[in-house]
């Protein structure tokens, strides 16, 4: 298959899955796109939004449309790591047998991940990073493709354990799930309270997902665009060369190198969706907030000034763009 066909197939597969999900999920186009991009980029997705916005249904529909295994873990403070990874149990034949936990699925919905204790969160996030689980000294690889879609409640509640920065960094993107519009809500209510129930049908296979990942890696990126992306990442840092005024004022920590990798990966997916063979600066800009918003830690001053990470990123982008001028000025 040549490059043009690969690109076309990526776009078609993406479109088919999206269309299938949209049969079930009303609105939330950006969320659906981000989840699919996460899947294509071999990354995990952190969703932040109010309960009842269709997150579970989204993952379930995604699994159905791709004929993938799906599991859901509802995190609670009393949950233990073994509840996620699985454990050895003594069988009737007086032998230990490993019972796989919910992590052993292609698509995992980690609901309200910030309700689990750090210990359990850590086990979950380690599995996400390593893509394997070690129990009783035995290492067991997780299925491919493997995508964790974690949700966390934005409202500070009793009994929550916010994810540490190092663990947040492991999510490819953080997507803010907005409350649906009135029209969307009407459609949601109509669909869910009527006789007809929509279900996503399988339109692609896991091999298609693996093929998409392969295609994505081949997308070209020029030095100019890469420099632009790196300037944005460096611009989130409060110190060092390339830091921006806003970062110096409001950031405690900037985005990690993994953030730069993620930014380019997501931008590559955006390029393929645009049926291009190369990443553009627009792709980088479009991916910026979802990729970097959970990787920047703001300081007290930002909190005092009511600054959000998205606002800081907007200003970082403006600062970098101001320096990124046409090399031929006439």
């Amino acid at each position: 298959m040549d490059a043009t066909q690969q690109t076309k197939k990526f776009s078609e597969t993406f479109q088919k899955v999206r269309t299938e999900i949209q049969k079930v999920i009303v609105g939330q186009d950006d969320v659906v796109e981000s989840v699919l991009i996460g899947l294509a980029c071999n990354g995990h997705v952190l969703l932040e939004g109010m309960p009842g916005l269709g997150k579970t249904l989204l993952v379930k529909s995604l699994a159905q449309s791709l004929r993938l295994d799906f599991s859901r873990i509802q995190f609670t403070p009393d949950m233990m790591p073994a509840d996620v990874t699985g454990t050895n149990v003594l069988t009737d034949s007086r032998a230990f047998e490993f019972r796989r936990g919910p992590i052993f699925a292609n698509l995992v919905l980690a609901d309200e991940i910030n309700r689990a204790t750090p210990k359990t969160q850590s086990a979950m996030l380690e599995a996400m990073q390593e893509r394997s689980v070690t129990v009783g000294g035995k290492r067991m690889p997780l299925a491919e493709p493997f995508l964790v879609m974690a949700t966390q409640n934005p409202v500070e509640q009793e009994g929550t354990y916010p994810l540490p920065e190092a663990q947040l960094d492991r999510f490819l993107v953080k997507v803010l799930v907005p409350f649906p519009t009135k029209d969307e809500l009407r459609e949601v209510v109509r669909r869910t309270t009527g006789n007809e129930t929509q279900e996503a049908l399988p339109v692609a296979e896991k091999e298609d997902v693996l093929e998409m990942r392969k295609t994505l890696r081949q997308v070209q990126i020029s030095d100019e665009v890469l420099n632009f992306a790196l300037s944005l990442v460096v611009g989130t840092h409060p110190t060092g060369d390339g830091s921006t005024d806003v970062a110096r004022k409001y950031a405690r920590y900037g985005a990690s190198p993994r953030g730069a990798q993620s930014l380019v990966s997501v931008a590559k997916a955006q390029a393929l969706l645009g049926e291009r063979f190369n990443v553009s600066k627009e792709d980088i800009k479009r991916s910026l907030k979802s990729v970097l918003r959970h990787r920047i830690l703001l300081n007290f001053e930002a909190e005092a000034d009511g600054m959000t990470t998205d606002q800081v990123l907007d200003q970082v982008l403006a600062s970098v763009e101001a320096k990124d001028r046409d090399p031929i000025r006439v």
């Binding site: 040549d2 490059a3 043009t4 690109t7 081949q218 997308v219 070209q220 990126i221 020029s222 030095d223 100019e224 665009v225 645009g274 291009r276 063979f277 190369n278 990443v279 553009s280 600066k281 627009e282 792709d283 046409d326 090399p327 031929i328 000025r329 006439v330």
Partner: protein, 541 residues
């Protein structure tokens, strides 16, 4: 586009420089003309434009710029970096970039915009023009200043006229010498400065006098050179004559021998014969006495004192004899020369009948007369037209006679003398032409040659000069005979405007002394002597 931008940047920088110049011009520190300032800006623009045009633009830079301008989503920049051999996506990416680039026109991407550099160039140029015009506008001047400016401009035209008539006269040949060119340049500068009318009359006059002095010096030197060249030409002519004698098998003739009339020659021969006879008689007497001494010395009866006396006498007589022999030989040689001089004269007469020789002699005489007149401070006797004709004739002769060494040397010297004569005449004309014309020193004179005293001093009454100075001029000849003075020395005016350029006390004694000397030599007509005495007496008081 880079050329366009470079032009604007270059023009801006040049305009900034021109602005400083215009300000200095306003302050009268560095004179500038509108053309100068315009040329500076244009030059800066052209240089900037060339630099911009010739500066290479890397393909990558151009690609990135096109990406931005054409909205190609970084296709072109990426395509320029990609290596199809390494990456499967590189080739289709390049094809994609090429396809997108196809319908784009360069002029749409890089239109001729009027950006900041262009705005800066125009603004600065406008500022330069404004500063220059404000600095030169007559609107801000007082009526006196306006009048002075008008006079200065008129004087500029006069200086130009003198320059054109004397240094750039197309009828005059050969072309301008280096000295004349330099003088012409100085005059052009003065013209420009007068045209701008930004200097005081004193300064203008000083500059004009400097040029006039320079012109006089050049004239003097050129005339001296012309005279030297004429002397060289005369020597070359003598050599030609010697060559002619040699060709006729005759020895070189002493000066004057070939110009004798037959009568003179006959007399000279008679004289020579008489002289030889005298010498022979003296020689015979000497030899007789020497023989006597020789006989006496043979005798043994002579005392030592007598013998010494005789020996001494014999030695003296021997010396006299040698001198007489030598004189006799010379007389015989003269006899022969006199005899041959007739033949030599015939050779020269034949030579003199040659039309070319006659023509050359005529030219040489004219040139000599011209040089002598110039040396005496008189008007050159040769006109420009005559000089041109002489030049043509001499060059034609030089072409014809290039094989004859002596003739070639002669013609070369003549041509050089002619050139120097021209320079001397022109420079003298310039010196005299511009010196009395400056404003503020009295009524300008149209006369060029001071030797013609019928033209100068033609005003009866005192007149107010163009500036602030009064100069009194009188008519009349300087001598009772009415003869023209061979030489009149021009001096800078002693009074300019409201102040004196030369301290009064310094010049009065010398002028007084000269006046007294003139009175003593009876050079001043009797009817004026009283007035002169009274005048200097009043000055002394």
């Amino acid at each position: 586009m880079r050329g366009w931008k470079g032009f604007a940047i270059g023009a801006s920088l040049a305009a900034a420089f021109a602005l400083v110049w215009a300000v200095m011009d306003w302050a009268n520190l560095a004179p500038a003309s509108a053309i100068d300032l315009g040329l500076v800006v244009a030059f800066g623009g052209i240089v900037g434009g060339l630099i911009g045009f010739l500066q290479p633009v890397p393909a990558k830079t151009l690609g990135d710029s096109i990406d931005r301008r054409a909205g190609l989503d970084n296709r072109l920049g990426t395509a320029l970096e990609g290596n199809p051999a390494d990456d499967a996506f590189a080739e289709p990416q390049r094809a994609d970039a090429q396809a997108k680039l196809g319908g784009i026109r360069a002029k749409d991407l890089f239109p001729f915009r009027f950006g900041r550099p262009q705005f800066a160039a125009v603004t600065l140029s406008a500022l330069v023009a404004a500063v220059f015009l404000l600095g030169n506008t007559p609107l801000l001047l007082s009526p006196e200043q306006k009048q002075a400016r008008k006079e200065m401009k008129a004087e500029s035209a006069r200086v130009e006229k003198v320059r054109r008539e004397n240094l750039e006269n197309p009828k005059d040949a050969p072309g301008m010498s280096e000295e004349e060119k330099r003088l012409a340049d100085e005059m052009r500068r003065l013209e420009r400065e007068l045209e701008r009318a930004k200097m005081s009359p004193e300064e203008a006059m000083q500059k004009a006098n400097n040029i006039a002095n320079e012109a006089d010096k050049l004239s003097l030197k050129a005339n001296e050179d012309a005279q030297k060249q004429l002397a060289t030409a005369s020597e070359a002519m003598e050599q030609m004559k010697a060559d002619a004698l040699k060709q006729a098998g005759l020895p070189p003739m002493p000066s004057g021998m070939t110009e004798m009339s037959p009568e003179q020659r006959k007399n000279a021969q008679k004289e020579n014969q008489k002289r030889q006879n005298d010498l022979k008689a003296q020689m015979a007497a000497l030899e007789k006495r020497l023989a006597e001494i020789k006989e006496r010395l043979k005798s043994d009866k002579l005392s030592k004192a007598e013998r010494d006396q005789l020996e001494k006498e014999r030695a003296a007589l021997e010396a006299q004899k040698k001198a007489l022999e030598s004189e006799l030989a010379a007389a015989k040689k003269d006899e022969l020369t006199l005899k041959l001089s007739a033949e030599a004269q015939a050779v020269f007469e034949k030579m003199a009948k040659n039309p070319l020789y006659q023509e050359l002699m005529k030219l040489q005489a004219k040139l000599q007369a011209n040089a002598d007149a110039m040396a005496n401070g008189q008007k050159p006797t040769l006109t420009a037209e005559e000089r041109r004709k002489m030049q043509e004739a001499l060059e034609a002769f030089a072409r014809e006679m290039k094989d004859q060494k002596a003739m070639e040397a002669y013609l070369k010297a003549m041509i050089e003398a002619l050139k120097n004569a021209k320079t001397a005449g022109n420079c003298k004309s310039v010196g005299l032409g511009i010196r009395p014309t400056m404003p503020g020193i009295g009524g300008p004179s149209n006369d060029i040659w001071a030797g013609d005293n019928k033209k100068i001093n033609k005003l009866d009454k005192g007149v107010e000069g163009g500036g602030k100075t009064f100069t009194t001029q009188v008519t009349g000849s300087k001598r009772p005979t009415g003869e023209s003075d061979p030489y009149i020395e021009f001096k800078a005016p002693t009074m300019v405007g409201n102040r004196s350029s030369i301290p009064y006390s310094k010049v009065l004694p010398s002028y007084k002394k000269r006046a007294e000397s003139a009175l003593n030599r009876q050079e001043i007509p009797k009817e004026y002597q009283g007035r002169v005495k009274e005048y200097f007496k009043s000055l002394g008081q």
